[in-house]
Symmetry: C2
Subunit: 225 residues, 2 copies
């Protein structure tokens, strides 16, 4: 896969060694993140709204109510910024100054376009459900025409983008390594606890395989708590 374009607008100036423009990295971060933050300006005021996203190939898709101000603003081809951030750990350094967070983030700049084709829209909604819970689509009532009409889907080309990644231990000033302060990383990740069944399900309903697998996919490594 070739890299995305690094433009004047996406070239990282702060800590450029943390930057990457490789699609593999950008796509893996987009795919792991459940939620993105969409930035758009409306009467000179920037707004940042969290929403679900899904990637298919070189495109990113958002969806929401057809009445959403965010989506309707974005659909007018105004410039938009989509950012996703994964938090991987707390970095405790010997100096207060070098305390940090391990993270992986992606910033995409671009102009959104509406997806109006019925089959294409349905494909995006399916991908969104499958992203939340792989294998889930087959276990749902699929959207009606009315539901499809009430849903707006936007697409974005992933062209002007960058990823920024911090990993590993603190980088203290050399002189500070002699200090007695404990230093290290507390790894963090999004973890699931046991599914809570909807009380309106018939009692004794078994938890299906795709729900158990979903919970397991969020388990901590090595059975840690």
């Amino acid at each position: 896969m070739e890299a995305v374009r690094a433009t004047e607008r996406t070239q990282l100036r702060r800590l450029p060694k943390r930057a990457t423009y490789q699609r593999e990295t950008i796509y893996s971060i987009l795919d792991e993140a459940l939620v993105c933050h969409v930035g758009f300006a409306y009467w000179d005021q920037p707004y940042v709204i969290p929403t679900l996203h899904v990637r298919d190939g070189d495109r990113l898709y958002l969806h929401g109510s057809a009445a959403s101000r965010m989506l309707n603003t974005a659909a007018t081809q105004l410039p938009v910024c989509v950012t996703v951030t994964l938090i991987d750990g707390l970095v405790l350094a010997r100096s207060a100054f070098h305390h940090s967070v391990n993270y992986r983030s992606v910033v995409i700049l671009g102009n959104a376009a509406r997806v109006d084709d019925r089959e294409a829209k349905l494909g995006v909604l399916r991908a969104l459900v499958e992203k939340i819970a792989p294998g889930r689509w087959a276990h749902t009532r699929t959207p009606t025409d009315k539901e499809l009409a009430a849903t707006m889907v936007l697409q974005f080309p992933i062209e002007e983008a960058s990823a920024k990644v911090r990993t590993g231990q603190p980088m203290d000033d050399e002189a500070d390594y002699a200090l007695p302060h404990w230093a290290g990383v507390i790894p963090l990740r999004l973890a699931a606890s046991a599914p809570i069944v909807d009380p309106r399900m018939p009692s004794g309903t078994a938890t299906p395989e795709h729900v158990l697998a979903l919970t397991k996919s969020f388990a901590l490594p090595n059975g840690q708590r």
Copy 2:
């Protein structure tokens, strides 16, 4: 505590029953979230950048390099949006349409101002370190004048803000409750695994109490994995 102002710009139009303007709710979300997303416009292009934040009373504080484009742009009193989002669970409904995510988010609109007073700046940096790891400040080498000069601190009044919260089970269409599809919630939260000590620490260094307490504070409820 009184509520924040609900203005034309922060009044939620989509699903207004999920909205709140109570400071208690807004503050608890801000305090739990490690990272916020800051939106600002630069030559008509919105940018959304993740960064750490800390609240003190009715103000939110951000910090970063004195050379940061984001902070320097925000410091010019341009309108900025700060958004934080906590993901609490995946909501699996009987219908694809009603799949959702449980979350708590806060959106703050405002204009930032620089904090230049040395003691005030130091207080914010201390609060940031203490937020990442309570009790940590006493176990660090405190900032030098050079480090303070290299750090910009911005403050924001928490005045024009709203919180949006979704909790609980899916809300399916009444007719869909007869369907056999499993429905429920997979609770999610940010969880820690065991601290990874910096290999440059002397071997056999005991993990201090504040680091153990920090790891525990991210534990899953009821010892679940």
